[in-house]
Symmetry: C2
Subunit: 194 residues, 2 copies
DNA sequence: CCTCCTCTAGAGTGATCGCTCTAATCAGGG
DNA sequence: CCCTGATTAGAGCGATCACTCTAGAGGAGG
């Protein structure tokens, strides 16, 4: 209710992107869902769909990172925090009937070869995620290079599991990916502790 | 030249799907690329875009599986075969300027919540891949349950790495995912051999 | 009151969407 | 030759696409 017109547009677009992707989300549908007149969209985002898309990608990326950070902060150990991220993703998938997964993966694949500004936005988000996760692992005592590998592996695992889980409507892939990621982490911790 | 009209449609559609996704690929563009009159498309695929999409998903899934099988058959050991699959994927990505990746991942995410028959087609393909990979690992002496976990983990890793690699235009994620997958496999082999 | 500027409001633009339709073309059997 | 069914060929359909345009509503300063 207190959300501004601009925020309502961004929120509605983010939800449309998650469900229908970038190409599949129509601007008319977006303004209708946001309960905003069409003219307001081009007032706030004069660059049209591309500018709106770039904003939504960066914003969704930040929001997702904040959620993951909060989950990890609430965990007792780094090992547990990784497991909680995957089990949390599995829970959200199930609760949303396999609709709400990664907010930018679908868009990332769609625009990778067709829309350079949006591709750059997705790349920026992924790189920020990698850096944030790497810092976590470094703080846990893992060497920088190994920490970055773990971070990339973990993000790749969760994204790949999202694809399999949504396609098969099962959390099996997410559960397996979580076990795989935590196994990798434990091995790295064991190594770094001597 | 010897390719039939139907095959040319399927090939053109597969390429359009890889680059633009399901929603982004227009039927007019497809028939133009395939050098086929519009009427022929609806003669061969009376069910329209959905029927064509389902055919292309299953066909691309089978083709991709055949390629991976060939790569693995040409490898000396199961460990090497897994590494070759990832390094081969990285090479294809680089050679195609990060356009040609998994032929169905983009479509899978797009249609997961919007098009039930196509979602089922993608689920079918993924399940076949999992079964095929599981059989490979079982033949290598790994227990059935563990082999299925490895198969799912490997497919999730390669799919997730495709997303990161295409977005960032770098093979780093694919290299890391390959190392992660082969590490998992070696651990499982070590365990199964006592 | 008036002016100025931001924002809301939605009708209307040409282009493209998936799809339907009819006609032409072709091959093989009689 | 004619007939028949499969396939090619593409114009045209209503709907929707991203987007532009003009007009009005609302609040702040004078």
């Amino acid at each position: 209710m207190t959300a501004s017109t601009k925020e309502r547009i961004l929120d509605a677009t983010a939800e449309m992107f998650r469900r229908y992707g970038y190409t599949g989300a129509g601007l008319k549908q977006i303004v209708q869902k946001a309960n905003v007149p069409f003219g307001s969209l081009y007032h706030h985002f004069p660059g049209g769909k591309v500018e709106l898309g770039a904003h939504v990608i960066r914003r969704s990326g930040q929001m997702y990172q904040d959620i993951v950070t909060a989950v990890m902060d609430a965990s007792a150990s780094i090992e547990e925090s990784v497991r909680n991220v995957f089990s949390g993703a599995a829970a959200v998938l199930q609760a949303s009937d396999y609709e709400d997964a990664c907010p930018i993966a679908t868009v990332a694949l769609e625009v990778a070869s067709t829309n350079e500004p949006l591709r750059e936005a997705t790349a920026e988000v992924f790189e920020k995620w990698i850096v944030a996760a790497t810092e976590r692992f470094v703080s846990a005592g893992i060497a920088e290079a190994k920490a970055r590998e773990l971070a990339i592996g973990m993000i790749a695992a969760v994204e790949g599991a999202f694809i399999l889980a949504r396609a098969t409507r099962s959390t099996e892939a997410m559960d397996v990916a979580g076990a795989m990621a935590s196994g990798m982490l434990e091995a790295a911790l064991h190594e770094s502790r001597g």
